[in-house]
């Protein structure tokens, strides 16, 4: 079955420290990959996406992610976090190959907690 795994449910980090949020997926077909961010009491907004081309993708707010096909991973990174980055982050994958409806499969989310 197609699935997305975010092993870390919560990642505490100090302000200005680097962070990596991990995402792995199970698939033998081509994929599109996304990271969404959800700030407290808000909806989900797109942080970045990988469709094709360069495996290093840059998003909003200084985040970037690298697609690693051999490891079926799409980890999210930021070199220096801010208090305002405190939010829940969702990895999501569309498993390409369908001729019609595209279904986005979500991971269970990682809560990033940035403290001073």
């Amino acid at each position: 079955a197609q699935s997305v795994t975010q092993l870390d449910s919560q990642v505490p980090v100090f302000e200005e420290a680097p962070v990596e949020l991990r995402c792995n997926y199970s698939s033998s077909v081509s994929v599109y990959l996304f990271w969404y961010v959800q700030y407290p009491n808000q909806g989900l907004q797109l942080l970045l996406k990988y469709l094709s081309g360069s495996t290093l993708v840059k998003g909003i707010n200084g985040f970037e992610a690298e697609f690693n096909k051999s490891q079926t991973s799409f980890h999210l990174r930021k070199p220096s976090v801010h208090i305002s980055d405190t939010a829940e982050y969702f990895c999501a994958v569309t498993f390409r190959g369908n001729t019609g409806f595209q279904k986005l499969v979500f991971g269970t989310g990682t809560r990033l907690l940035v403290s001073p």
Binding site: S9, Y32, F34, Y36, Q42, G43, L44, Q45, L46, K49, L51, F90, A92, V93, T94, G100, F101, Q102, K103, L104, F106, G107, T108, G109
Partner: protein, 116 residues
């Protein structure tokens, strides 16, 4: 620039009561979705629609019904609410695959439902 709008944003129900959540999008998207978000479980797909007049079941459809009478609206109904349906509900939309749909979703801000 409304995007995806959900109403109401908050609602408290008693067990057995019924209610309808309304989702409206102004982007002329074909696809619309209803998700529920629960702690530690990420987003789970309830129902979706690939076009006006069509609906389909997602992962967790039991206890919910939907209708898509107009392209821009997608209604989620609870006929007899149960405490297990206490959750945050998100509506999302996406364009047709032929219009560049990669699976990326555009989300509303959520509707928080509490069933007592």
């Amino acid at each position: 620039n409304a995007g995806v709008t959900q109403t109401p944003k908050f609602r408290v129900l008693k067990t057995g009561q019924s209610m309808t959540l309304l989702c409206a999008q102004d982007m002329n998207h074909e696809y619309m979705y209803w998700y529920r978000q629960d702690p530690g479980m990420g987003l789970r797909l309830i129902h979706y629609s690939v076009g006006e007049g069509t609906t389909a079941k997602g992962e967790v459809p039991d206890g919910y019904n939907v209708s898509r009478l107009k392209k821009q609206n997608f209604l989620l109904g609870l006929e007899s609410a149960a405490p297990s349906q206490t959750s945050v509900y998100f509506c999302a939309s996406a364009p047709l695959k032929t219009s560049g749909n990669t699976g990326e979703l555009f989300f509303g801000e959520g509707s928080r439902l509490t069933v007592l």
